[in-house]
């Protein structure tokens, strides 16, 4: 079943905007890879290169008040949701000016003002949280959507099944977005799931669900927009499965023994940015000068975020206990 995206009118300016958003994420992630090899970023680093269309597409369907839950592969979602690149970079440098005072690192970026409830290092760990927030919204009669991103690896966790059941059972305003990139770290979907079509699992719980080409940002945006409209009307939870692919390893220390390089090359040729760029250029909507200007703007923003992170302070050790417990509301 394919959603007819012609109904969703896409202006040229909007297409250019989508292109810039994806390119911005791509260049940011490439710079992070470089910074990691120079030991500026430590811990684990999971890059979003190749999956940019999913985050950028879905975020267009959201309002300021909607909430977002992501995973440890979250830089793209954070940037697409509008978090400051300075804060995201400073967080990975472990600086107190980072989105989480430098305490979380790449996998734990938070920004409550942007209603971005962070990454989560535990696979499927966030699903029950998202269900809970949707329950709270429903109880408080808020007409906001909660979007919960996760990889196909999460469907093997009990929390996936428990969360979908609760969402459908209580008719909660939640959009589950499964970024199916084919591999849960080193284990292919083919050798870990009996039913490989994730949207069918959701349908079995009664959720409105279908799959889209995760490399096509327009298709992702229109599907997400339609599901959010349904949810805001109170028609219950939906699950959008985006078939996509990560062009890099699971994390930086990954020899990728589990997949063939020509498979990677094949997917690269269907990359989300390249696809949109060719379409825009073919329709005379993206000159090489405009492209250079976009690249320069993106490079400046990235360099400025690195300078910001470099000069920021690290948190003082005496604040170690700050935030273990909160102030009780008097």
């Amino acid at each position: 079943m394919n959603i007819d995206n012609s109904k969703v009118h896409m202006g040229i300016a909007h297409m250019q905007f989508l292109f810039k958003q994806m390119l911005r994420i791509r260049r940011f992630e490439e710079k992070c890879a470089e910074l990691y090899t120079q030991e500026k970023i430590r811990g684990f680093l999971h890059l979003y290169i190749g999956e940019e269309a999913v985050a950028v597409g879905v975020m267009q369907a959201l309002k300021a008040e909607d909430a977002v839950f992501a995973t440890y592969r979250e830089h793209g979602h954070a940037l697409a949701r509008g978090l400051s690149m300075d804060k995201v970079m400073a967080e990975m440098f472990g600086k107190v000016t980072g989105s989480s005072r430098g305490r979380g690192g790449s996998m734990h970026i938070f920004d409550v003002e942007k209603r971005f409830y962070g990454g989560n290092a535990i696979v499927a760990g966030a699903l029950p949280l998202a269900v809970g927030l949707a329950l709270a919204n429903k109880m408080q009669k808020k007409n906001d959507v909660v979007v919960c991103f996760f990889g196909e690896g999460a469907v093997a966790e009990g929390e996936f099944h428990e969360s979908l059941n609760l969402a459908q059972l209580w008719q909660l305003p939640i959009l589950f977005v499964c970024e199916n990139n084919g591999y849960a770290m080193g284990t292919a979907l083919a050798i870990s799931e009996s039913e490989r079509h994730i949207f069918r699992k959701a349908q079995s719980y009664g959720l409105k669900s279908h799959a889209v080409d995760g490399m096509n940002v327009v298709e992702v945006e229109s599907a997400a927009t339609q599901y959010c409209q349904r949810i805001r009307k109170g028609d219950g939870p939906c699950l959008l499965e985006c078939n996509t692919y990560r062009f890099r390893g699971h994390s930086m220390f990954d020899t990728q023994l589990y997949r063939e390089s020509d498979e990677v090359e094949a997917w690269k040729r269907k990359g989300p940015i390249m696809k949109l760029q060719r379409w825009l250029e073919a329709n005379g909507k993206l000159s090489s000068a405009e492209l250079k200007q976009i690249e320069d703007q993106v490079a400046d923003e990235i360099n400025q975020s690195i300078a910001f992170a470099e000069r920021s302070e690290i948190e003082d050790i005496s604040d170690l206990y700050l935030g273990v417990y909160g102030e009780s509301e008097s």
Binding site: E30, Q38, S251, F253, T255, I302, N303, S318, V324
Partner: protein, 419 residues
Amino acid sequence: MKILTMPSFGADMAVGTIVKWNVKPGDPVSRGDIIASIETMKGLIDMEVFDDGIIVTLLAAEGEELEIGRPIAELQLKNEEDSNNSSVQIVESGDAHSVDVGSNTAVNQEGASNSSDSQNDVTKESRVLTDVEVKSGDSINTRRPKISPAARNKAEQLGIDWRQLSQGTGPDGALLLDDINIADTQSAEPALDSVKGPKDMMRDAIAANVSRSKRDIPHYYLQLDMVLDNTLNWLSLHNADLPPSNRILSNAVIYSAIARTLSEFPAFNGFYRDGHYQPSDSVHLGNAISLRQGGLMVAAIHNAQNLGLLELMEKIKDQVNRARKGGLRMSEMQDATVTVSNLGDRGTDSIQSIIYPPQVAIIGIGRQRIVPWVIDNVVSSATIISMSLAADHRVSDGHSGARLLNKINKLLQTPEKLV
């Protein structure tokens, strides 16, 4: 010119080996190209270049294992001045100002800046105490003298009353095992080295002993004046033509009389321990020797009741000299069954002494003095000494104490029998 360095792919990767170069000097490269494959413990990982440019030199050979951050190639950036291409010049490794977010040095490398300083680890007084920071002063019994379990256990084993000991060396003056060990060695065998040693330690030991005695032993006191003339006259006759080294002092006669009498009064010669009394079948007469620089030592004359006057004299002389030169043997200082305390010619008329636990009696001898004395209803003069007896009322009573003193006095009147 940009230096390419051995990349780090993970926190626990310390070194990498270039298995294969995909480029050679002069080759143009663009961002994202894979220029080499690196062998790590997890297997081969591709190394990409992050800038467009031309490879100038390869600084590392294939098969060469290098630490993270070591230079491996030089890259001439495409049109060097091209602003959008050259990223902000990230000062290469070892840049001073960039904060070391985490060089992959060994975990226990204690960089001064970030070594945890536990003194001020909780300066911000968070409302909820997350760590149970019980200040030591909070415990209620701060006033009670403190002693560690090990120290108290040892003190009780040694019969030392630790409450009397002065400040310990532990926190807030708490008494520790060493403090008890010192107190113990010091009161048991004050070897000369302890004399030469800190005098306050010796003082502490005496303090501990006499305090225990005064508190635990119910003393009763008796005193009898004894005429010494017979003894003195006998002595001057005996010493008349003897060189000083062979002369006998009056003390020897008095000690001999005491020792022989005590062998017939078992209630005054033995040990009182753990609630019951153990009489001794021989009299080890403790001779309290005052030391020239102050302090006191008690040396026991073994089997004094069997020694003749001459032998006894030699024993006393030898002990006094050795005591003053620190040569007393451990055994001599530990097993006295009764003690004689004697202040000598410049003492006082009499002396009431404190018993040395675990003994049960102590005899005090006042100075020799000439006093008016009535003999056959006629007042004349006599040389006398006042002899006191302090005894443990748990073991003996005044009646037998009086008989003891009278018997000693009787023997002093016939010194010739003591030879």
